[in-house]
């Protein structure tokens, strides 16, 4: 393992201090418990929008803290959900009477810890709601699994609900928008290599030079099938087809297409893949109305990519277009 770190156990805290140094006008951080908070929080009359989860997916979630997106992010240890008291601390620091909305990716640890925090904050009289993001079509949503994972679609949920918060929409309204976006967003990923967790020291899984893992999650948990390497056209089609079939997305639909790098796939490959996805969608009659391309929901140093489709309507498109100013997204 070669990484630019000092102590594997201190990676998250050290990174947070660097992040604070890099973006003093946008955010402030705490290291015990670890929190990333909008510089101007709490905002009176605004819902506190909080997300979080294991570290290692940067810029998710801390990179999306700022005007028009998250009020706070709660980073856990690498690939490990934060504890309930950390989530409670984020609520206490940002909630200003309008309640708090927690955006939680569907992983057992995240759900348990965030729900526990919401219950505890509720006992203290704060109105806290949680919406679970579960956009990964690689996972069958059955009683025999923990359910679909929350992956790349989380970024779109955070942006759109963040815009609603900025417009002053109340807690119930923000929750409804979050649920609507979750209901309309689907993702699927592929890994070319496994990620290396700093404290583990070796890759979470290894793939041969001629192998890829289809349906990968964002924690280095292997995907559902391992297949021989294909060219970009083949891989993009393998990701796109299950997404299109799932919702389903049909000819005439207007979508946001998000092409995401898992961390170590360079932009030249990502743009190439995005171009393929645009072409395949055009052939299907699905109209791409908005785009996002880049490393936004990563898995440390994993090579690979994911595609996310969000079925748009005018309201969601307007919320997407609203101004945003965070470390990782700004327009």
């Amino acid at each position: 393992m070669k990484k630019i770190i000092n102590d594997p156990a201190a990676v998250v805290g050290d990174a947070l201090r660097g992040m604070a140094a890099a973006h003093p006008e946008l955010l402030r951080v705490r290291t015990d418990p670890a929190l990333i908070v909008r510089a101007d929080a709490p905002l009176a009359g605004r819902v506190a929008l909080i997300s979080g989860g294991g570290s290692g997916h940067e810029p998710l979630h801390g990179g999306f803290v700022g005007r028009g997106m998250l009020t706070a992010a709660v980073p856990g240890a690498v690939f490990t959900s934060p504890t309930p008291d950390a989530v409670q601390a984020a609520i206490a620091e940002t909630e200003a009477g309008a309640g708090a909305l927690l955006l939680v990716k569907n992983y057992t640890g995240d759900v348990l810890n965030f729900e526990t925090a919401a219950e505890l904050a509720g006992l203290e009289g704060t109105d806290v709601r949680a919406v679970i993001v579960d956009d990964d079509v690689a996972v069958k949503d059955s009683t025999h699994t923990a359910g679909r994972r929350g992956v790349g679609g989380t970024v779109l949920v955070e942006k759109i609900v963040g815009a609603a918060v900025e417009r002053g929409v109340d807690l119930a309204g923000c929750e409804a928008i979050a649920r609507r976006v979750v209901g309309r967003v689907r993702s699927m990923g592929v890994a070319l290599t496994g990620p290396t967790v700093p404290h583990a020291g070796s890759p979470s899984f290894t793939l041969g030079d001629d192998e890829v893992e289809i349906g990968i999650g964002i924690h280095g948990e292997p995907g559902r099938e391992r297949i021989p390497m294909e060219d970009a056209d083949g891989l993009v089609a393998r990701l796109l087809e299950p997404i299109l079939a799932d919702l389903p997305f049909e000819a005439g639909d207007e979508v946001l297409l998000f092409t995401n790098s898992m961390g170590a796939t360079p932009l030249i490959e990502l743009y190439l893949a995005h171009g393929v996805a645009e072409r395949l969608l055009a052939e299907r009659g699905v109209r791409v109305r908005r785009r996002l391309v880049g490393p936004y929901t990563t898995s440390l140093d994993m090579q690979g990519m994911s595609l996310t489709l969000l079925k748009l309507d005018d309201e969601l498109t307007e919320l997407w277009d609203d101004p945003v100013r965070t470390a990782a997204l700004h327009w």
């Binding site: 490990t80 959900s81 934060p82 979470s204 924690h219 948990e221 292997p222």
Partner: protein, 209 residues
């Protein structure tokens, strides 16, 4: 001889030591079917438990267990934090403010801990989780206690049953937690949560011998 607060503290220190010793093994088990953090998280949590016991050692078994619960919940993270935390919290409630635990009380504490894990994690036997180690442990402990066994014997049979239970997870296909995403490919590996449960119970039992 009953189990005092000092005995519970000694058991937890033994538990912390065994978790530290097996940190890499648990990371490795989790690397194969999960996300490679179980050993790291448990080690972080039990280090915090041991250091808390250095500075504040409560005076009843129940108070010790409650302190362990809150420490684990606030330091472990992941799914293991709430699950182990809830187990210790329910065990603390079960023993109440008794100053000494007999075999029946230890078995009841284990039973309540299991119920807490099931309530929070919604896992059943056969799902390839820590429940697969806990259920046989509780069954064995309850049977031994009913026959009049003391705490030492109750913990010993629980530990032995938990080890067997953990090993029994190897061929199973996971239905809960992150390993469930692997489907059939999760078979052939021991569940890290079941393994850590067996390790902890073994350490608790050995601290008494």
């Amino acid at each position: 001889m009953g189990c005092t607060a000092q005995d519970v503290i000694a058991a937890l220190r033994a538990g912390a030591a065994v978790v530290a010793d097996h940190r890499d093994e648990l990371v490795e088990l989790d690397r194969v079917i999960g996300d490679a953090d179980h050993g790291e998280n448990m080690d972080r949590g039990f280090r915090a438990v041991a250091s808390k016991l250095d500075t504040a050692a409560p005076e009843t078994p129940g108070a010790v267990l409650k302190q362990v619960a809150t420490t684990l919940i606030s330091t472990v993270g992941g799914a293991s934090g709430p699950l182990y935390g809830t187990a210790f919290l329910r065990a603390a409630s079960a023993v109440g403010d008794a100053t000494e635990l007999d075999g029946m009380a230890v078995a009841a504490a284990l039973q309540s801990g299991l119920e807490g894990v099931v309530a929070r994690g919604r896992a059943e036997p056969g799902d390839k989780t820590m429940v697969d180690a806990l259920v046989p442990a509780v069954d064995a402990a309850t049977a031994a206690a009913a026959e009049g066994a003391g705490p030492d014997r109750v913990l010993a049979v629980a530990a032995a049953a938990a080890r067997t239970g953990a090993e029994s997870t190897e061929p199973l296909v996971a239905r809960k937690g992150r390993a469930s995403y692997l489907g059939e490919r999760s078979a052939g590996h021991v569940d890290p949560g079941a393994r850590s449960t067996a390790l902890l119970l073994s350490a608790f039992a050995e601290s008494r011998s």
